[in-house]
Symmetry: C2
Subunit: 235 residues, 2 copies
DNA sequence: GGAGAAATTAACTCGTTGGATAAATACTGT
DNA sequence: ACAGTATTTATCCAACGAGTTAATTTCTCC
């Protein structure tokens, strides 16, 4: 056969393979946790042989850490584009909340990975040098917004930026990461479209009201579109 | 031997055994998750034979569900003793936050169990009939507090009690359940004594400020050195 | 067109683990 | 003290799963 080169049994593509492995691993680890994840399933999902995981990344633990680091890298990169400096302080906080909320909605595996890692008490993350370095700029970004808010009189109190960020992450993260059990015990579908809108309004209202001290208007402002329908039919 | 009954190879104590098994299982499941938990370790920790688990409770899944139900039962029982009706609304909310926070601090396994169950998307909890029934009274309790607050003029807005409770749980739960990774990325020990006190102050301030619209005073009130001891041993 | 390196497949090892079976031991009522 | 039942121990095993070894296929560069 001169020109029609015989169909190959497999293609070579080290870079692509590595990416497919990491993507498959992300799915698997977020769906089943570290212990529950199956190396063979990852291989299958990546359209690869099990041996490839060890060849391109490493053993299960190392694979897991690589996935985790990649996840952090991704969110911090996107956060960098938030550009809160040019918004007036309440608007900046609102945008930060909305971004965080939407990011978690768009990347549910990130939530699962963090939960998994916390169940392991960050044992793996502690060994990572990469991750520690990329958070201070973000904190400074928030600190600046708060300072500006206090100076302009928009905010009543100079809250610690780390506390504020943890609170924003808490309100969004917890609702989504625990929506399964919460939905069961409260007898509501917390992931329904309406419920999510209501939640976003609640969170923005809560945080801005606390910072500015103008609860009523703020709650109403964001709450406007959806008057209510507080479902409430547990048992 | 008539009186000095020869030392027995083992004592019979079905009730005690069952409790020891459940306790050991709680430890194991919260420490390693569902997939990571080892049946043999549970047996060992309970000072029992592996066969006992199957005899007294059931297979791994059933054991896990039993532990989970027990955990919910325990917290709801304690919450029942909160008695928020007799406090003025802001004080009632403050007590609710403090109780939740302290409960989570005292029962870290509860946090882990919930995380694990949410990673499984509440697959097991959905099969439980017991759990669903015990939450509406609690929601009503909060609803009443909010209504009273609005009527007395203390609160500026009639927030949905479920949203409010989820927010309180979020602020407390997330901080503790994710303290491992947060401590790493922010380079602070979030479980240090000072950090915990600061966090409690922040959360109470945030929520009360949002509800009452008097940020500054409230933040200062709770942020002060140590006005009083909010310890509050529930039940 | 061939040698050596890189990438991929196939097959195997070996400890672990959930669950099962059968036998032994303690307790109860009579 | 004896029979029957409840509780506990002692083994066993088949399946699984992580990681390894060795062979096979493709690529590159000369």
């Amino acid at each position: 056969m001169a020109k029609a080169k015989r169909t190959l049994k497999w293609q070579r593509d080290p870079e692509g393979m590595r990416l497919r492995i990491l993507e498959a691993a992300k799915q698997e680890f977020s769906a089943h946790g570290l212990a529950g994840a199956r190396v063979d399933r990852i291989a299958a999902k990546a359209g690869a042989n099990k041996r490839m995981l060890y060849y391109h990344v490493g053993k299960k633990d190392e694979l897991y850490l690589a996935v985790l680091e990649g996840a952090y890298e991704k969110i911090r990169n996107e956060e960098r584009g938030l550009d809160l400096e040019h918004l007036d302080p309440p608007e900046a906080i609102k945008r930060l909340i909305e971004f965080t909320w939407n990011y978690f909605l768009r990347n549910p595996e990130f939530l699962s990975l963090l939960q998994t890692e916390n169940l392991a008490r960050a044992k793996h993350l502690k060994r990572s040098t990469k991750v520690k370095s990329m958070h201070s700029p973000f904190v400074e970004m928030i600190r600046t917004v708060v300072r500006r808010g206090v100076e302009s009189g928009d905010f009543q109190v100079a809250v610690d930026p780390v506390q504020l960020y943890i609170s924003i992450a808490a309100l969004t993260f917890f609702y989504l990461s625990n929506s399964a059990t919460l939905s069961v015990i409260f007898g509501r579908d917390l992931l329904a479209k309406d419920a999510k809108e209501e939640r976003l309004a609640h969170m923005v209202g809560l945080v801005l009201a606390a910072l500015t001290g103008r609860s009523a208007e703020l709650f109403d402002m964001v709450k406007a579109p959806k008057p209510r329908v507080p479902q409430h039919q547990p048992v």
